[in-house]
Amino acid sequence: MTSTPALFLDHESLVPLIEELSKTLEVVAPVYAEGEPVFATWKGEALALDADNPLNSPVEFFLPQKEVLFKYVQYSGRYTFSEEPPKSRLILGMRPCDLQAIKVLDEIFGTELSDHPYTSKRKSTIIVAMNCTSPGKGCFCASMGSGPAAKEGYDLLLTDVGSGYLVESGSPAGMFVLRANSRHFEEASPEHLKEKERRLALAEEEIVKRRLALTPEQIREAIDETDWEEVERRCLRCGGCSLVCPVCHCFSVMDRGVPDGERLRCRDTCTLAGFSRMTSGANPRASLGERLRHWYLDKFVYIPEKTGMLGCVGCGRCSRVCLSDVDRWSILREAIE
């Protein structure tokens, strides 16, 4: 939905631009923390835009591992409540897979009754996405239709075309940022646009060639064929697959403090027994195997039914963090091949 001509940003102009932006809002970007790329508040350190997509997805800026829903204060038997307003943020370098995940979450959290803590953060955040011209080793976004090129949902979109970034705007907010900082940009040439297409085609080819993932249809078939008891036997129950998944959004709610305190919510995982267990002790998904099966069913059957979009964006993080060293996709592949 590029509605203005694409612009071009020198590699060298990126830092001055975000310096400018960080005067008005918190700029979040992949930076190196002790040598590894992580999404964190940019404070002038070297950017890790060329590194692999960080292990922890920037979805945490909309759905943090832990956040305060509201504070409660008791005074003579009655309570008063207070909520923190969201921060104005700009996230730089969000990859197409994570962008697609946010699109799915927008649908889930934005549907009535919409989830205010999520949507308020979404509305106060500008997303500067970056197309994947050198995909990571475990990525299979192309199989899930979420990358390596971002299609929509960004405010601005960068593509590294070698000499600099091609910059496209995807929203009025994005255009506003471009206009307000126009001195950093120049007009993009047709060569820049061509180079973008060339690089993304190469990236897509590379991902498809690896054949890391099955098609969604094959996966649905494989879920039925998989020996979930065997997966249960191997699973070391860390919950990491849910905690890194940019589409996973299960949360739990807890209170901390009497008489005054906070109601918090924290990321949760449906792989834990306590997730579905009721206080009576009855558990509708009693075995770990059933819960792991549910994890896949949700992504490939239930979320698509609800949102029209896959619940997997092919970022490959669940395999990267799997403590049992179970390649999440090879389990399924074995089941049908």
Partner: protein, 674 residues
């Protein structure tokens, strides 16, 4: 949001993780991809390591006991009262009426300073910590046979093993990241042998699962070695060149024939044979063990038997081999290294060695006591009879973690002065005269030394809650009040002193540690660290074989069940932290005793019903979980829960060689509670 790279606070794996910090609050954790053990992964406790940090239960102000109540006090009052009372007791009854229990949860710098506090300021060697209750037999056993009680190889080294024997370790639950390495080795072709009476997850994943009955470890280990030697699978070159005492050992184990082993342990001759061949034939074989080996009244013998096995097969000093005692706490190795033990200074320099004593006394500008001190459990005994009158406890919870809770309570209550430094109120702080609120791992700088001797950075992510302080500051302050110079401005300075006085840490400095840390021994600033010990020689020259015999234990027909204790995946130790982590507490909210289905049927109990578990002295009411994980005749209770403290039942049946209590085998009987 900032992301601070630090080291996990739970088990000895020592995983690197990021703490996510937003507006001065730790709001998340994620694994470190570049960390050599974590490799971008964490166990469920690690993923949730952030959740207890800002819990409202955190201790935020010092407390002093006034009458029966603990009341809020200033740091000045709490510190001066502590210094005063410790001094008084020292004047009246001599320094050995005092003791210090340090913490395997504290940093190296804190353990070092508390050790120095005990020795230099209080003038007593009565300093110990929880290692007494976990790996004292490793220190005693491996110290005697190999010359060092530490894990010989790195965790990564397990990846290149051809056979791995795991015994007395519920690795998948207690050291998940070590388990991940073991299972990766298995998937690359290594044979995994697990000896455990319980059908733990790793036992179920094993190629060979030996199910010995409790207390038969020496017998089956000797039996395996006997078969290995008989088959000509022993490493004769290694035995000849690098060990001594083999012929006596050879003689001593001849009687452990497969038939005898079967009678003692219940392991079939076929299974024993399979295990012996797999281990004996492997070019590189490693042994991994933990509390199931050490926490017995013959724990040291169990360790020696395993040491004999790796020595006779030449599995020492190479990648993929070795003996790996897995440490329970993230810094129990470091606390030992720092000399938080009654017999040694940092770096295992003996207090009885005049040279070592002179060196430390000079550095600390004071005189030092020469007689070794009391061990943790001995301290409790001494306290009960009034020989110890004052104790400083740093971050330990003896009321939950020591055997025979009643005796510990009597001991702590009979003290004239008890100071406890903690992050949360515990069963132990409840008895204290002074409580110091201290910083958690997220709130301080320092180093932890993991189970594989890896010295790693702990980095401060947020400030401590309320008035809480880092314990290195508390220790330094008390030292100053007791007349010892301690003008440290940061843990980094403490590490510089440690490096100066501790040969294996000689080359360690914060600048060098980065993400991966360094394996000690690292004697000088240019030394790359030592991931595999004993490559060329042993610290004691030749390694020694120690013949060990099976100890026949009586079975009391009145108490026909054997109770074994331990931990679960979702909780850590006495639950001080994990029971305050929302998802972990939800996963296992209540204690339960695991009973085999056959036993449950015979007792007429079902899952969820309540039973009384009775030892000779005590009884405990607890919910039943019926599970095939425990064999018939054995029951299991985790010791995380104060509403059913497993250690009410355990007894102080000490291993004579290491003074470790037998947590793993207590005779009990069971009946329905209604």
């Amino acid at each position: 949001m900032e992301k601070i790279h630090t080291t996990c606070v739970y088990c000895g794996c020592g995983c690197g993780l990021y703490l996510h910090v937003e507006d001065g609050q730790v709001v998340g954790a994620s694994p470190s991809p570049a960390h050599p053990v974590a490799r971008g992964r964490l166990c469920v406790k690690g993923w949730l390591a952030h959740d207890f940090v800002h819990h409202p239960d955190r201790l935020k102000t010092p407390q002093i006991k006034r009458g029966e109540r603990q009341v809020r006090a200033s740091w000045e009052d709490a510190l001066s009262l502590t210094a005063e009372r410790l001094n008084e007791i020292k004047e009246e009854s001599g320094p050995d009426a005092l003791a210090v229990l340090t913490s395997a949860k504290g940093t190296n710098e804190e353990n070092y300073l508390l050790m120095k506090l005990a020795r230099a300021a209080l003038k007593t060697n009565n300093v110990d910590h929880v290692a007494r209750l976990c790996h004292a037999p490793s220190v005693a056993g491996l110290g005697a046979s190999l010359g060092s009680g530490a894990m010989t190889n790195s965790i990564k080294s397990l990846l290149s093993a051809d056979a791995i024997l795991v015994t007395g370790s519920n690795t998948t639950e207690q050291h998940p990241l070590v388990a991940a390495h073991i299972l990766e080795a298995q998937s690359r072709g290594a044979t995994l042998i697990v000896a455990d009476p319980r059908k733990t997850q790793i036992a179920q994943l094993a190629d060979i699962h030996l199910e010995p009955c409790l207390g038969s470890d020496v017998a089956w280990t000797n039996g395996i070695l006997n078969l290995i030697i008989e088959r000509g699978l022993a490493d004769e070159d290694f035995i000849r060149d690098r060990t001594e005492g083999f012929s006596v050992l050879r003689e001593s184990i001849l009687k452990y024939t497969p038939e005898v082993v079967e009678r003692i342990s219940g392991i079939s001759p076929e299974d024993l044979e399979k295990a012996a061949v797999a281990f004996g034939e492997a070019p590189r074989a490693a042994v991994v063990y933990a509390m199931g080996t050490t926490q017995h009244s013959n724990g040291t013998d169990n360790v020696l038997a395993l040491a004999n096995l790796i020595l006779a097969t030449g599995n020492v000093g190479r990648e993929g081999t070795g003996i790996c005692p897995l440490r329970g706490h993230q810094n129990v190795q470091g606390a030992c290294d720092m000399g938080a033990l009654p017999t040694v200074y940092s770096g295992y320099q003996k207090v009885e060695d005049p040279g070592a004593r002179e060196k430390m006394a000079t550095a600390w500008v004071t005189d030092l006591p020469s007689t070794p001190g009391l061990t943790a459990v001995e301290m409790m005994e001494a306290a009960e009879v009034g020989r110890i009158r004052g104790i400083y406890i740093s971050g330990e919870n003896p009321m939950m973690s020591y055997p025979d809770r009643d005796q510990v309570k009597r001991a702590l209550e009979s003290l004239e002065f008890l100071a406890v430094a903690e992050i949360f109120p515990t069963e132990t702080t409840a008895l204290a005269d002074v409580v110091f609120p201290v910083a958690s791992f997220a709130e301080k700088d320092g180093t932890f030394t993991s189970t594989e001797r890896r010295v790693q950075r702990v980095r401060q992510a947020v400030t401590p809650p309320g008035e809480a302080r880092s314990e290195w500051e508390v220790a330094a302050d008390l030292m100053k009040r007791l007349g010892i110079e301690a003008d440290y401005t940061s843990p980094k300075e403490v590490m510089a002193e440690i490096a100066r006085l501790t040969p294996p840490y000689g080359g360690i400095s914060y600048q060098r540690l980065g993400i991966s840390g360094l394996h000690w021994p690292c004697p000088d600033p240019d030394h790359p660290g030592t991931d595999i010990l004993h490559r060329e020689s042993f610290p004691i020259g030749r390694a020694k074989f120690f013949p060990v015999e099976h100890l026949e234990l009586e079975v009391d027909p009145e108490y026909p069940f054997l109770l074994t204790t331990g931990r679960s995946l979702f909780h850590f130790h006495t639950g001080t932290m994990t029971r305050r982590v929302h998802l972990l507490d939800r996963e296992i909210p209540r204690p339960a005793v695991d009973i085999n289905p056959e036993d449950a049927a015979a007792l007429g109990v079902r899952r969820g019903q309540r039973v009384l578990v009775e030892s000779r002295e005590h009884s405990l009411e607890i919910e039943v979980d019926v599970t095939g994980v425990v064999p018939k005749g054995t029951v299991f209770i985790p010791f995380h829960f104060n509403e059913a403290p497993a250690n009410l039942l355990t007894v102080q049946n000490l291993d004579p060689k290491s003074k470790i209590p037998d947590f793993k085998r207590t005779s009990v009987r069971i009946r329905r509670a209604d």
